[in-house]
């Protein structure tokens, strides 16, 4: 039961309209696309860093957890309030505060939607490089918390490579800046530690990112292959040939079928897998590299390779890729997306293992993923109404992650550990490794009030974590 004086105090800060606590209103905030669900006690929509600072101080007084939330697209349970508390929804803080065109910098609030920033600066000849496939809805604050990537991070890197500074509200309500408008400022790279901390070390309230000039030329290739094996081999061949495309995305037969059911963007139905290979840069560079891509794919007996002839054609190809997850709904009522990473040379082997797992559990698995980075997204298709399905699917997800780890890969490339994968952390890290991470967390947020129970195995305050306390001085 929520304390009514807490509600009163929160309303005093943000106004009556921006505090929700009736169970019906809370339903949409219990979920982030993963399998985990939990209701917050109260949802607050702050408008400024000062609002957040006051809310955090109130939370401290009332001994409440704070769970930051952007658009809730996280897919790993990161923004789900597993232990209740105050959910801090940052979508009202969605202003692009200033653009410095000459130094190519943008100062934004955390609730700015990723794609809106690129749209806003396009007329200035600039773009914001990290482009999660969810970019039409996910927020820059969420991107920072998850250190998100996207199809084009193959060439441009992930969020941490593009964020220069961040104003944060700390666990005790202080407002401080990490980083600056340029790199290499004296002292520890606290910002580097903060990015990817999944809302557990502070709330990002203002962000300075660097922007890039829009490339002169872009060419998007659609290469189709008879088998997923051939397509993965083509990925390795492109990467080891010395080319760095801006994106290499793969979709398998099932995904193609789903996309063509829903988005109809012209992917060939005879293909076992397609690759979207995008190049960008100067006109000469791109046309030269395009020839090399054609040669590589042709030498590997691709069924067909074509280049989008217009912006419309290119957009259609990407619409298919970006709409692929949604389109899977045409094949099954539910899907469970696994986010794992393998060394790129291990793609063929891992995809075979995934196919075996699919046979074993007798459920189809569609693959649509950032192949150039080795970042797999096998989607297990199922119907949650069927009894025992959830356990079966989660079990298969665990097997897939184990397969990634077995070939030298890891548990997550972009969706974060969140709640969903925290018990898997021991597959990669020892107690001592986790102890170091907890030390980082502890220097920012020693009380575990922010987004409790995420990333680290165990309960809300990570107290069941092995060595941590024994090593304290």
């Amino acid at each position: 039961m929520v304390n009514s004086s807490l509600i009163k105090e929160l309303k005093k800060i943000v106004g009556d309209d921006y505090v929700m606590h009736h169970p019906d209103e809370l339903l949409v905030f219990q979920y982030d696309g993963s399998t985990d669900k939990a209701l917050p006690d109260v949802v607050v929509f702050p408008k400024s860093s000062e609002d957040i600072s006051s809310i955090v101080k109130i939370a401290n007084r009332y001994d409440q957890y704070i769970i930051p939330r952007g658009a809730g697209t996280g897919l790993s349970g990161g923004a789900v309030p597993m232990y209740g508390g105050i959910e801090l929804v940052l979508t009202r803080m969605n202003s692009i505060l200033s653009i410095d065109v000459e130094n190519r910098l943008a100062l934004v609030e955390p609730g700015v939607v990723n794609l809106d920033l690129s749209k806003y600066v396009a007329s200035m000849g600039l773009f914001y490089a990290p482009d999660p496939s969810s970019q039409i809805s996910c927020t820059i604050g969420g991107n920072i918390a998850e250190n998100s990537g996207g199809p084009h991070c193959l060439k441009y890197g992930v969020t941490t490579n593009h964020v220069l500074a961040c104003e944060i509200v700390t666990e005790n309500g202080d407002i401080i800046w990490l980083g600056d408008k340029f790199r290499n400022v004296p002292g520890y790279d606290l910002l580097g530690g903060f990015v990817g901390s999944e809302g557990m070390m502070g709330i990002a309230t203002k962000i300075i990112v660097n922007l890039l000039p829009i490339p002169q030329s872009v060419k998007t290739h659609l290469a189709s292959f008879a088998t997923i094996d051939q397509a993965s081999f083509a990925v390795s061949s492109v990467i080891s040939s010395g080319l760095i495309p801006s994106a290499i995305e793969m979709m398998d037969k099932l995904t193609i079928e789903a996309v063509e059911n829903v988005v109809k963007c012209g992917y060939p139905d005879t293909a076992g897998a397609v690759l979207l290979i995008e190049l960008d840069g100067s006109n000469e560079e791109v046309s030269e590299q395009s020839k090399q891509i054609m040669d590589i794919c042709n030498s590997l007996e691709c069924q067909d390779i074509s280049v989008a002839a217009s912006i419309e054609e290119r957009n259609a190809l990407w619409r298919g890729r970006k709409g692929a997850l949604g389109a899977l709904g045409s094949l099954a009522p539910n899907y469970f997306l696994v986010d794992g990473v393998v060394p790129r040379t291990k793609l063929p082997e891992t995809l075979k293992t995934i196919s075996k797992i699919s046979e074993k559990i007798d459920l189809p698995i569609a693959n649509v993923f950032h192949a150039g980075d080795g970042n797999l997204h096998p989607c297990i298709l199922f119907d949650e109404q069927e009894p025992g399905m959830a356990e079966k699917v989660l079990g298969a997800g665990g097997e897939i992650l184990q397969a990634c780890v077995d070939v030298g890969g890891t548990l997550t490339g972009e969706h974060g550990v969140g709640f969903e994968k925290k018990e898997f952390m021991y597959k990669i890290f020892s107690n001592s490794d986790l102890d170091q991470m907890l030390r980082l967390k502890s220097s920012f947020a020693p009380n575990g009030r922010l987004n409790p129970g995420k990333v680290f195995p165990g309960g809300p305050k990570c107290f069941d974590m092995g060595n941590y306390n024994t090593f304290r001085s």
Partner: protein
Amino acid sequence: MVSVDHDLEKYKVDGYIPSKTISPKSPESLADLLRIASENRWNVIPFGFGNMMNIGSIPNGYDIALDLNQIPKYIQHNSEDLTVTCSSNTSFGELNLKLQEKQQWLPFDSPLINDQSVGGLLACNLPGSLNACFGYIRDYVIGMKTATPFGQITKSGGTVVKNVTGFDLTRLHIGALGTLGIITEASFKIIPLPERQIYLRIDNENTNALIDLSSLLNSILQSFGVAELLIDSLGVASIYMTCIGTEKVVNEKLLEIKTILFDHEIDLTLNEIAEKEWLNIQDFGWVNEDDFVLGRINCLPTDTIKILQQINRIVADNKKERIDTLTNSKRGVIKYKINPDNIEDTIQIIENIRDKVKKHSGYTVIENSGTFDKNKLNIWGDIPESFPLMRKLKSEFDPVNILNSGRFIGGI
């Protein structure tokens, strides 16, 4: 497990000689030593190749020099995945040579780049010109192992190019001068070696013309190269450039540069120079420079030339000290090298520069103080707003403060 070296003089840091040198033979014995040092509150200074020991403030004490060179060295190059993992005591020069066998590389430069160990390079984090084209070393590190003062070898990240599993500790250690742990292994993503890299120089005594030209060249070179402007103490200027890319791109850029020089109102010649000369520029303030103090300014690219001009005024007003500058308007970096004639004057010049830089919201640190008495210098400049967090971080990672104690910002 360890060997004890009695040749203590070569491990001198800021005039301090350690009581003991220890050379662990494995990362595990290194970690053990750190635990023992923690239990005994010994001040430890890790030693890679020892070429950059002038960085930082004076240590709080110096019980043990920890020589990392007897730990087995290795390089695991996964050329098809474009990744490499190596021991931190690998020479960066050797690492890049190995990568080049497969037409790949790590696109960094830094002072004394080929004489730094990988661990030292990461811990000191003194980026050179190439970061203007390729980003920073922090953008290439995908995993790291460190020995902690608790006696453990711990890892973060991994060997895949995309990874958000767990918090990112690698970036904390980069530029931390070994105050949070000792890096024992690092993994990098690497990139294909460009088809061609050329090095160019333009000299002229018309300093103002070259200042403008260097900015223009930086914008023409885009991400395919970078121009550094050297102005020596006599006011003679030179532009040093590198251009990198495919044969075609490099030729095109070269043609653009030549056209600009041809159209320029003053007579300018473009000299193609050897890589060695370019590397000498990267070593600015680090080779045989005992009598110099080297400062570095970081600022917004658009403020670089404004700050340089203010420094030039300080130089013109000062008759005694010799001051050279190396400026990069693309990166927002100015390095200045003062030959101290009079200690008080030198300190005054540094403070003047610091004042000007502060007005532009930039930073100045002393990168290399040569033989200058560090007690008289403010090595790290003003401490940032987030300093209390830095202190907390240090106390979490190194609770009894054994690692490089006192050498980092704010006496950390």
